[in-house]
């Protein structure tokens, strides 16, 4: 029975989403109940699976009891459990904020889309099959299309159109990559690929490199890696604030997939690809970080600033990841958790400002903003920029310690990036909070402060318990770089 828990994070939101779809459109209570129960249920499931994954080896779940590699297999390992827990924690807070601010009432079917989004995310983190990963990407994307234009008018729908077009191109590339890989190996099971790729004949290796790079391009689009980041600023700046906060974990799907494929399928000691992926990731990550930081500095509104902060944080994650050593993967995981929570808190705070007036810096028609909103922005900005005492500082320290390659360049970009972020956010804070033209104060109900404050409390906890968390992540990174137990869990024929 406990074995079936692995598929529960996919089934629970799927069933509740169907219920939420049929909920009355005039009375939102039933839909809120469904998605509240779903989100809390996912949190409980994620904690259970986290305990299960931390104490035991990776576990496979065979859909329809079909043996791998013929059937689809789900695999629960420490990385999947971490991503499930991160998603569940984030969505609990953000859903609360969506209800507290009334965002969910401003269009129809918010809660059903929300649950489908969670289903897609959980499925992408759990699946052990590359084609199934594509299917779950589509599930989470199609839900995100609906959420992105939720309650929207002109500009938001136009931004949504661009977002969909970019992601449809990404899906096409994904299929091209999968077809190349299948044609060469005859399998799309990730563990089976890990076993078969070292045996690939000499003549097929060039084509396999093309497939690997195509696949990484798809993940780079999802992770908003320069030069494939163009979709992100307009999408995040135009999406409803609570949806942008949930999207903080969407870019991490790209990072997760890169990490999974980079350690399991295309590890650095594989003859076919060698260090190809890490060689491409490092410069792209540095460029992303630089461009994101410059974007923070150059933004003219809070929403754009937050969107560029999301790009900069992805740059840091990819710079850390590019090392593909146990130490650098640990740093990448730590910073990924930090930046997801900090990014979400930033988007929620910016949304609270935007709900009270224009988020453009020089706006004259903005009411005086309450002091506690300014305090919230201050703490969020400290977290996002990576200043002490919050966990962003520790994360960046770990990234710097683990950095490989041209050390001076990496240090310069990461530190200058943080510097630019500090200046950009100070400017944003003073331009928005210190320049009141009006005497009326826009009040801020306490209920709307709970979720961003809760996310910040999680960051404080991450800072206080940084030691145990880092040790746990080091264990996760070590497991990722020695994937034999993962492959074992899939029970390939002729392997035992």
């Amino acid at each position: 029975m406990t074995d079936h828990l692995i598929i529960a994070p996919i089934l629970l939101p799927a069933i509740l989403a169907a219920v939420a779809l049929f909920a009355s459109s005039t009375n939102i209570f039933a839909a809120r109940l469904a998605s509240g129960l779903g989100t809390l249920g996912l949190l409980a499931l994620a904690i259970t699976l986290m305990v299960q994954a931390s104490t035991g080896p990776p576990q496979g779940y065979f859909l329809g009891a079909w043996p791998a590699p013929f059937g689809i297999v789900l695999v629960l390992d420490r990385l999947s459990a971490l991503m499930l827990l991160l998603t569940a924690l984030l969505s609990t807070f953000v859903l609360f904020q969506a209800i507290a601010t009334g965002w969910d009432r401003r269009g129809r079917k918010f809660h059903a889309l929300w649950l489908f989004q969670l289903m897609g995310l959980n499925g992408a983190f759990l699946t052990g099959d590359a084609f199934n990963l594509f299917v779950f990407f589509e599930v989470l994307l199609i839900a995100s299309y609906g959420l992105m234009v939720h309650g929207g008018t002109g500009p938001r729908i136009k931004a949504g159109l661009q977002y969909i077009a970019v992601n449809l191109v990404g899906s096409t590339l994904f299929l091209f990559a999968l077809a190349v890989i299948y044609a060469l190996t005859g399998t799309l099971n990730m563990a089976d690929l890990a076993v078969k790729l070292p045996l690939l004949p000499e003549g097929d290796q060039a084509l396999m490199r093309v497939g690997a790079v195509l696949l990484m391009l798809v993940f780079a689009i999802k992770g908003a890696l320069v030069p494939l980041h163009f979709w992100l600023p307009a999408t995040y700046a135009n999406a409803p604030g609570v949806v942008a906060a949930l999207f903080a974990v969407m870019t991490k799907v790209g990072a997760y997939s890169t990490l999974r494929f980079g350690t399991l399928v295309f590890p650095a000691d594989l003859a076919v690809t060698g260090t190809l992926i890490s060689d491409l990731l490092l410069p792209a990550g540095l460029l992303t970080l630089a461009l994101g930081s410059i974007g923070i500095l150059g933004a003219q509104s809070l929403t754009r600033m937050a969107a560029y902060a999301a790009i900069a944080s992805m740059g840091t994650v990819f710079v850390a990841m590019a090392g593909f050593t146990t130490q650098s993967t640990t740093a990448a995981l730590f910073y990924m958790v930090h930046s997801t929570l900090a990014g979400a808190a930033l988007f929620l705070t910016v949304d609270l400002v935007q709900a009270r007036g224009p988020s453009r810096y020089g706006a004259t028609d903005r009411p005086r903003l309450p002091g506690r909103l300014a305090a919230l922005f201050l703490v969020t900005a400290i977290a996002t920029a990576g200043l002490p005492p919050l966990s962003g500082f520790l994360g960046k320290l770990m990234v710097l310690q683990a950095a490989l390659g041209p050390m001076a360049l990496v240090w310069a970009v990461v530190l200058l990036g943080s510097f630019f972020a500090i200046i950009g956010m100070s400017r944003a804070g003073s331009a928005v909070f210190w320049a009141p033209k009006s005497e009326t104060i826009a009040p801020l109900p306490t209920s709307q402060m709970l979720a961003p404050a809760g996310l910040l409390a999680l960051l404080v906890a991450l800072t206080v318990f940084a030691g145990p968390v880092q040790a746990w992540m080091a264990g996760t990174a070590a497991a990722l770089h020695a994937p034999a137990p993962y492959i074992e869990a899939v029970q390939l024929p002729g392997k035992g």
Binding site: R106, E138, G154, I164, L168
Partner: protein, 121 residues
């Protein structure tokens, strides 16, 4: 036969990419459709091209690989659904903004067009 299939994939992709780079939403959607046709044919040929072979082991001497056919079926269904979504979104964008350009409007997100509190449900 291989040369024809390969040329078809190449031609469809080229047409798709050309249309994708247009400024109006209708050609862009057509371009995406062409791209998805190209990838469907490509995916199908991933199982090697064979004629008069059935995808069932035991009924013919050399069976063909059934998996790419299943993959391509999934891909067709998904791309069909996605095309429907993007057509609706393009229509919505056209009706809301009065033009069907896909390039961003730099001023667009600087003014909040709708503030929370106005229930649209």
């Amino acid at each position: 036969m291989e040369i024809f299939v390969a040329s078809a994939v190449g031609l469809l992709t080229a047409v798709g990419i050309y249309l994708l780079l247009r400024l109006r939403s209708f050609p862009v959607i057509l371009g995406l459709t062409f791209l998805s046709y190209a990838v469907n044919v490509f995916l199908f040929s991933a199982g090697r091209l064979k004629t008069a072979a059935e995808p069932i082991v035991g009924t013919t001497e050399i069976p063909t690989d059934p998996l790419p056919q299943a993959l391509v079926l999934t891909a067709i269904v998904i791309s069909f659904g996605m095309t429907a979504v993007i057509v609706m979104m393009a229509l919505g964008s056209y009706l809301e903004t009065g033009n069907d350009r896909v390039d961003p409007d730099p001023e667009a997100d600087l003014t909040p067009t709708d503030l929370p509190g106005k229930d649209r449900a």
